[in-house]
Amino acid sequence: MAPITPPPDDKLEQELRRGVIVLAALSQLAGWQYGYSLRQSLAARGMEIEEGTLYPLLRRLEAQNLLVSEWRIEEGPPRRYYKMSPAGRALYGRLIENWNGLVDIVAGLVADDGTGTKRKKDGR
C-alpha cells in the first residue's frame, strides 16, 4: 500500500482561512470600499488576504449579485467601489449565524479532543 503523504501544514491552514474569506470581506463592505482599501482594512484587523485572491473574489461576488459596484473618479486614478447588495446582506447574516454556530461547536470539540490535554474553550 502506498504511503499517504500528508499535505504541508501551511496548505491546511490556508484552506482553513479560505473558508472565512467571504465572511471577512463582506464584514467590511457595509459601505463603499475599493479593492486596495478593503485589503488594507482587513489587514489592519489582522486578516491578511493575498491581493491575487481578494480582487478576483470581489468580481465573483458581484457576478453572484452579492455586491454592487460603481466606478468613481475622485482623487487619484479611477477606482471601482463595491458594497453589499440586499442579497449580500442577507447572505452575510446567514454566514454570521453559521460562523457563530461553528465556533461554538469547534471550540467544544477542541476543548476535549481526547489527547488528554484539556484546553480552554476559547482555544488557548
Binding site: Y34, G35, E51, G52, Y55, R59, P77, P78, R79
Partner: protein, 317 residues
C-alpha cells in the same frame, strides 16, 4: 530595463487577453489601478522608489496570468469530472488499443512479406482512423458537461437507493432490443434481395454474398444468432437472470467476439471488394463493442463476490 508601470501594464494585458471579451477592458482597468496602488504601498513601506524588480516581485506574487485570469472567470462547465477522468482516459485509450488490436493483425496478414507497406497502409486507414473513438468520447463529454452546467442535476436530497435485485430485467427494454436485433438481422440478410427489388441491379450486386462464405461463415452467423435469440428469449420470459443464463450469456459473448474477429480477418463476405471492406470495418466496430461489453460483464462478475466476501470478513471481526 522596464519602468514599473510598463511591467504592470504588460502583466495586466497578459491577464486581460485570457478573459472573456465582454469584461476584458473593465477588469484590466481595475486591476491596473489596484496593482499600481499596491506597488506604491510597497514602495512607501520599504521607503524607496518603485522600480522594475519591485514591480516584478509584486506581479509574480499576484500569480501567473493564467491563474489570475482563471480566478476572474466565472465557473465554466466541466467536460470530465475529476472522479471520472481516470475511467474516461482508460476507455478512450483502451478503445483505440482494441481497434488497433483487431485491425493491425488483419492488415499484416493481408500482405505477407510486405509488412512495412501493410503497416503504412494500416496507419493511414485503420491506425489513425481509430482515433475517432476518443474524439467521439470528448464530443459526447462536452455535450454532457454543457447540459449538466445548463441544467444542474438534482441535489443529493433526491437520491434513491438503486434496486438491490440486479438479476431482474426490464422487459420493455428487452422487447425493444429484440425487435431492433431482428430488424438488424433482416437488414443484413435481406439487403441484396431488397435492393434488387427496388433499386438498379448494380446496387443489388454490390451486396451479393460470396457463396463460399455462405457455406461456412453464413452457417456460423446463423447458428450464433439462433443461440443468442434463444438465450435472450429464455431470459425475457423468465423476467430475470439466473446463474445458468448468465454463464450462457458470457459464453455467447465470448463466442461472438471470436466469430466477429474471424469475420474481420477471415474470408471474403461480399463479392464486391468495396462492400466487403466496408462491412469488415463495421464488423470490427461491433466486435469492439462486444469486447467492451464482455469486459464489463467479467468485471462485474469478479467485483460482486469480492465485495460480498469483504463484507463477510468485516462482519466476522
Amino acid at each position: 530595463m522596464m519602468t514599473p508601470d510598463a511591467v504592470v501594464e504588460a502583466y495586466v494585458s497578459d491577464v486581460a487577453r485570457r478573459l472573456p471579451r465582454a469584461k476584458r477592458n473593465d477588469v484590466a482597468l481595475e486591476l491596473q489601478a489596484l496593482l499600481r496602488e499596491e506597488l506604491q504601498g510597497k514602495a512607501d513601506e520599504s521607503g524607496r522608489a518603485t522600480d522594475e524588480a519591485m514591480a516584478l516581485e509584486l506581479v509574480r506574487a499576484f500569480g501567473s496570468p493564467e491563474d489570475v485570469a482563471e480566478r476572474y472567470r466565472p465557473a465554466e462547465f466541466v467536460i470530465v469530472p475529476t472522479t471520472r477522468s481516470r475511467k474516461f482516459a482508460a476507455i478512450a485509450l483502451g478503445g483505440v488499443g482494441l481497434q488497433w488490436l483487431i485491425t493491425l493483425p488483419a492488415a499484416l496478414l493481408k500482405e505477407p512479406g510486405r509488412e512495412a507497406v501493410a503497416l503504412g497502409g494500416w496507419w493511414l486507414t485503420h491506425g489513425m482512423g481509430a482515433l475517432w473513438w476518443p474524439g467521439f468520447m470528448v464530443t459526447a463529454a462536452i455535450v454532457a458537461g454543457w447540459a449538466r452546467h445548463r441544467w444542474p442535476p438534482a441535489q443529493s436530497t433526491t437520491w434513491r437507493p438503486r434496486g438491490q435485485d440486479n438479476d431482474r430485467i426490464n422487459r420493455t427494454l428487452w422487447a425493444i432490443g429484440g425487435v431492433a436485433a431482428a430488424l438488424g438481422v433482416a437488414a443484413v440478410t435481406g439487403a441484396q434481395w431488397a435492393f434488387e427489388q427496388f433499386l438498379p441491379p448494380q446496387v443489388g450486386e454490390a451486396f451479393a454474398f460470396d457463396p463460399d462464405f455462405l457455406l461456412l461463415g453464413g452457417a456460423v452467423v446463423v447458428a450464433m444468432w439462433s443461440f443468442t435469440a434463444l438465450s435472450c428469449a429464455i431470459v425475457f420470459f423468465e423476467g430475470r437472470w439466473r446463474p445458468l443464463t448468465r454463464n450462457v450469456d458470457l459464453a455467447l459473448s465470448t463466442m461472438w467476439f471470436v466469430a466477429l474477429t474471424w469475420l474481420v480477418v477471415g474470408p471474403r463476405i461480399y463479392l464486391s471488394p468495396v462492400t466487403d471492406e466496408g462491412a469488415k470495418g463495421w464488423i470490427s466496430l461491433v466486435a469492439l463493442f462486444v469486447l467492451i461489453d464482455l469486459c464489463v460483464k467479467i468485471y462485474r462478475r469478479v467485483q460482486r463476490p469480492r465485495t460480498a466476501a469483504a463484507l463477510a470478513a468485516i462482519a466476522k471481526t
